[in-house]
């Protein structure tokens, strides 16, 4: 199945999970879903049967509230059975609303924002010391870039020449209760990352080829990828509507989404 189709299948799955359990952040997950799916399908070298294999690439979803985007991919890869997705956030489920390191395939506890990139720096540094070739990829929210620790890590990564580290910023322009530019304006975001010493690309975050291309290039410095995305991507009535940061889809809304995405 092509990444695009796979992502849309995941979208319906995530809507159903949210509807069943009442867990929010559907739009946040949809925004970075194409990125996360492309990473798991084509870029990350991971080992579902031996998740702690020391040569694995490390992936950290630092915007932990989009956990469903990672969970569906982990289940698809076989880190755990797909049947667990349905019980997500239910009593005694190991799949909490935010990723935690006891879940196979999850490297760090995220959900409190601004933690993923410093941890990613430590892992990338360890890779350098051990002369291992694995790469470390961290997906951050643009709202998350409000956190000071993101920029502490940005300074660290370039100072220590961590060219094995990638930060992908899911740049949908929204955060919790408003637009980035009306809260803490991040612009010019590309120049910010560049001035912190990162090789910075701006791509369409819903185009897998643009993302894949970047990983084929040789790197001298850490790489920042500003992925232009649409919050709630894929479903007409959710796209760019920040209410879906918290809203839970109804069964009727899921039917409409299924029609739009042509997924049963």
């Amino acid at each position: 199945m092509k990444t695009y189709n796979l992502s849309n299948k995941f979208r319906i799955q995530i809507l159903k999970m949210s509807n069943k359990t009442g867990a929010p952040h559907v739009a946040s997950a949809f925004s970075c879903l194409d990125i996360v799916t492309t990473l798991y399908s084509s870029i990350l070298k991971v080992f579902p049967k031996s998740p702690k294999n020391p040569n694995r690439d490390r992936f950290i979803l630092s915007k932990g509230h989009a956990a469903t985007a990672q969970y569906v991919n982990l289940a698809e890869k076989g880190f755990f059975s797909k049947k667990y997705l349905e019980s997500y956030t239910n009593t005694n489920s190991f799949l909490e609303e935010h990723p935690n390191p006891s879940i196979k395939g999850v490297e760090a506890a995220t959900g409190s924002l601004g933690h993923g990139l410093p941890i990613g720096c430590g892992i990338a540094l360890a890779g350098k010391i051990k002369k291992k070739s694995f790469k470390t990829i961290v997906v951050l929210g643009d709202g998350e870039c409000n956190e000071g620790s993101v920029w502490e890590a940005a300074l660290f990564a370039s100072s220590k020449n961590l060219n094995n580290l990638y930060a992908i910023i899911d740049n949908n322009g929204w955060q919790g209760i408003g637009r980035n530019k009306d809260i803490l304006d991040l612009s010019p975001l590309k120049k910010k990352w560049e001035s912190f010493g990162w090789k910075t690309y701006v791509i369409n975050g819903h185009n897998e080829n643009e993302l894949k291309k970047i990983f084929k290039l040789k790197k001298r410095v850490p790489t920042a990828i500003i992925a232009k995305t649409i919050k709630g991507k894929g479903v007409s009535f959710m796209e760019d509507d920040n209410n879906w940061h918290y809203r839970i889809p109804t069964k009727e809304e899921i039917l409409i989404a299924q029609k739009e995405l042509k997924i049963k």
Binding site: L117, I123, I129, K130, G148, S149, F156
Partner: protein
């Protein structure tokens, strides 16, 4: 204590290739030997403690034994959530070293005092807390910390502390001066003053023992139980806020197992910001932690019980 730490971490790193030292831009010249010999295992992380703690987490998750080193308040409460979520939650073996703890940096003001670090860190699951009282103990407890599979907070002083506890064998909790009736139980560099107070008490014929409780969390419950049995009064002396520190831990524990907490007395710092300047000994005198104040406190309680 700082020099003892630098010496010992150098020695340990020679044998253990997994040790990585991270500094929060302090220790001018202190780690020159280390950085020369282990060029790829020393990183100055700059003045960015939250990131340093996250980096330590990533290193530990990839098989290293990282040590973060900076001034106690900046390495504890400044980056508290990183300690909680990045280190304690996944239970990673990171050694967090807080230097200049307690009132070591008294003249620098409340920004540099660390009188709440034990209380705040002991509220987090998984972390062990070790408090050496002199340079020899720093070396011993650093070894213990490196061996541990859990996160460890190593609370040390500054420089030029005397070696007053010259012993070959270290337990988790040791008797360092033998007496009867009263027990003086203490931790960290303040033990030097406790020791002096103890000698003064001897001169006034107030019999007392001195114990060094260097492992604060977890502490040696068996030995503390013995102390409860053996002594009429137990004075807990700490260079820390007294309402939330070691006294508080032992009182809570004794209550939970039915020991008589009424024999515990607390000598520590009142829960107030200290607003004056002066060297550590002057600050200790102001808050009642100099040998004379400790002596008077114990004597007063002892006198009362004789009436």
């Amino acid at each position: 204590m700082r020099n003892a730490f630098a010496e010992e971490v150098f020695n340990l790193a020679k044998k253990d290739k997994d040790i990585v030292l991270l500094s929060g831009d302090i220790g001018n010249r202190l780690f020159d030997n280390f950085r020369k010999k282990f060029t790829n295992r020393f990183f100055n992380c700059g003045i960015a403690e939250a990131n340093m703690t996250g980096v330590a987490s990533g290193l530990a998750a990839t098989g290293f034994k990282p040590i973060t080193y900076t001034i106690a308040p900046f390495n504890t409460i400044r980056c508290l959530e990183q300690i909680k979520l990045d280190i304690c939650y996944p239970n990673l073996p990171v050694v967090i070293v807080g230097t200049g703890s307690g009132l070591s940096y008294a003249t620098l003001g409340s920004t540099h005092h660390s009188l709440e670090d034990i209380s705040i860190l002991k509220s987090l699951p998984n972390i062990e807390i070790l408090c050496p009282s002199d340079p020899l103990e720093v070396k011993k407890l650093l070894k213990t910390a490196i061996k541990s599979k859990n996160p460890v907070y190593l609370r040390i002083g500054k420089k030029r502390e005397k070696i007053f506890n010259n012993r070959k064998k270290f337990g988790k909790l040791d008797l360092i001066k033998k007496g009867q009736i009263n027990c003086l139980l203490s931790i960290g560099p303040i033990l030097e003053n406790v020791f002096l107070a103890s000698k003064k008490l001897d001169k006034s014929s107030i019999s007392n023992s001195v114990y060094d409780l260097r492992h604060i969390r977890p502490f040696d419950e068996k030995k503390v139980k013995e102390i409860f049995k053996k002594y009429k009064k137990i004075f807990i002396i700490e260079e820390h806020y007294k309402n939330v520190g070691v006294f508080n831990s032992i009182l809570h524990w004794s209550n939970s197992i039915g020991l008589d907490g009424r024999k515990l007395y607390s000598i520590g710092v009142d829960n107030k910001f200290i607003k004056f300047t002066g060297e550590q000994e002057l600050a200790r005198r102001k808050v009642g932690l100099d040998p004379e104040s400790i002596y008077r406190f114990v004597k007063k309680i002892d006198d009362k019980s004789r009436i």
